[in-house]
Amino acid sequence: MNLYRTELHRFMRRRLTLLFGLCSLVGLLLLAFMVAATSRNAPTPDELAFAEEQAAMYQADLDRCRAEEDYFEQEWGYNANADYPELGHAEVCEELLAWGTDPVDHYPYGVFRFAEDGVLILIGVTIVAGLLVMLLAASLIGAEWSSGGMSNLLVWHPNRWKVWGAKLGAALTMCAAAVGALLALAFPLFYAAAALRGEVGELDAQWWEGALAVLARTAALTLGMTVAGSALAMLGRHTAVAGGVIAGYLVIGDLLVRLAGMAFKVQYPDLFSLYTWVTVWIIGDTQLYSYTDLPEEMSDPMTLTIPAAGLLIGGVVLVLTALATWSFTRRDVT
């Protein structure tokens, strides 16, 4: 426990931590200001009336589709039901005609709506906070290796399992605290921006359930990122190694993996992209379409689910952590 508190203390007292904290705070305030400044005001009564009228027309169209089996032949000139053999007619109508039935769909462009746009911004804030803590954690461990501080620490605490555990615990605590603090600050900021210069929208129980689930998964992702960053720094024994691997993957690694998948005619090359799985984990179940099928004989899309994404991302983090643990507990400290 002492060691964990010490690691936490050291984490908080680093200049880079203070710098990143300050930058996050300023960045958040700046973003909220820009959102408020660039948002159009909430729709005027005339604009609202127009949007509601449009939505009513779309709703009528949808209702008609549900009621008439040959709606698509009449209106579109072909039977769209054939494209969705697994769905019933009403579900196909929902799939194809649901957009526009909400007045929001017809609002003037540029209105910041907290109920929709706010969640995306909060996801972004969470991911940026996670990236910063990941870099901080990697830098703390990397700097200790490159400076010789690790050797000094191990002379005090020879049990390497405890040292590694304390470091991971401190990094995870910092990540949770940073993400929690930034979200707690971002929520009222963007809510206020929407209330002042846009529209808040309806934050009903369903909204809260969906938003909290998405943000909880994103926060969990940042914890995984922090562990992965720490593990890479522990494996490479230098901040630059961890930073290089992360930046290398984010910038070109992912692209290369996708290109290789396409070159080898892999049916779903997106499967090899970590971005795909991260998106599924945050946004929800997603369908992948085959790259190799001819248009006339398209195979069924592959559905990636949240549990599958969780397992894969968790597996990657686990493998990195296991390697780092093995390396730290077995390799010489020179």
Binding site: R15, N152, V155, W156, H157, D332, V333, T334
Partner: protein, 341 residues
């Protein structure tokens, strides 16, 4: 009383790609008795720091056993680590932390009270620089801070790698006094690795000299120096022209006496005693102006034992024996080397 540190047959080999493996430790033995300042000497690359790292669990070894306070290390090192303070090489600290914060964090990690931090800062002479960022510390100040962190635990065993590194003369003097006080007044056992041979000679009670990963001698410092000193007498005359006659008189007077003439003096080896030289020369009508006994210092003993003295103006390469030196360090010293085998 059993030794505080016992090392036996320690081996550490670094495998190298496409090159011969490097034997950093090649069956090293060492013992450090309680309450002493023990010097650990050896040329560069002889395995001193490797030994200390192995002892403190920082690196693994391929063979051999190590015990500290009777506990086998590194397996049971966590049981005794609270009794050990150590500085291995020149430890670096976070540059933007102050000296006090650095020590506070370490103290906090093992539950040492914060008051102890000020005590050790005072002990190593860093009280007035405690709040200063380490970035502004000189090498000597960092070294003092490193020693301070080793003292935090009130250790029963202090392991210091080159503690005088970077210290000014006053700092070296202070460090020597501190370590001797710890050992002789507080009962702390101190193991010091150092290259400053004159410092070791003044500071240490006993020592171990290693070369190429093996112990080549060990014992009390005075005994080792005495064991490798032969009686050399330097004789000078007011008139250097008498040197040749004096050399002849001495060599004719007794068997086993050898004399080396130099332009300003002659060096007599194998004389029964200094008075014999005085009398023999006086009997021959030669009156000397100066007679001094030349005893070896630790440096010359060290160079002789480790075979690292430059030969014909050429430096001996790190990890290599001198061109005409024996092939194994043990062979350089039959008397003390044998006791280690």
């Amino acid at each position: 009383m059993p030794p505080v540190i016992e090392i036996s047959g320690l081996r550490k080999t670094y495998q190298r790609l496409l090159r011969q493996p490097h034997h950093a430790l090649d069956g090293l033995d060492m013992e450090v008795a309680a309450g002493q300042v023990h010097g650990f000497l050896g040329p560069n690359g002889s395995g001193k720091t490797t030994t200390l790292r192995a002892l403190l669990g920082l690196i693994g070894t391929d063979a051999g056993t190590m015990r500290i306070f009777g506990e086998e290390v590194p397996r049971r090192l966590p049981r005794v680590i609270a009794r050990i303070g150590a500085v291995v090489e020149s430890p670096q600290f976070f540059k933007h932390f102050s000296g006090r914060l650095t020590l506070q964090i370490l103290a906090e990690s093992t539950g040492i009270p914060a008051t102890r931090v000020d005590e050790v800062l005072e002990q190593v002479g860093l009280r007035d620089q405690a709040k200063q960022s380490i970035k502004g510390y000189s090498l000597g100040m960092r070294q003092r801070l490193a020693v301070a962190q080793a003292l935090l635990k009130r250790p029963e065993l202090l392991v210091l790698d080159e503690p005088a590194n970077g210290l000014d003369p006053a700092g070296i003097h202070h460090m020597r006094a501190l370590l001797q006080w710890l050992a002789h007044d507080q009962g702390t056992t101190v193991l010091v690795s150092s290259h400053l041979l004159s410092e070791v000679q003044q500071l240490c009670d006993s020592m171990t000299i290693v070369s190429r990963g093996r112990r080549i001698t060990a014992g009390k410092v005075a005994d080792i120096i005495a064991g490798h000193s032969s009686a050399h007498l330097s004789v000078r005359f007011a008139d250097p022209g008498l040197i040749r006659d004096a050399a002849a008189a001495l060599t004719d007077a007794a068997d086993g006496v050898s004399v080396t003439t130099e332009p300003e003096r002659l060096v007599v080896t194998g004389a029964p005693e200094a008075a014999w030289v005085t009398k023999t020369l006086a009997d021959a009508g030669l009156y000397l102006s100066e007679l001094t006994a030349e005893t070896k210092n630790l440096e010359s003993v060290f160079l002789e034992l480790t075979g690292t003295a430059p030969r014909d103006g050429r430096a001996v390469q790190v990890g290599q024996p001198a061109p005409d030196a024996p092939t194994t360090p043990a062979e350089t010293d039959g008397q003390t080397g044998d006791e280690d085998r």
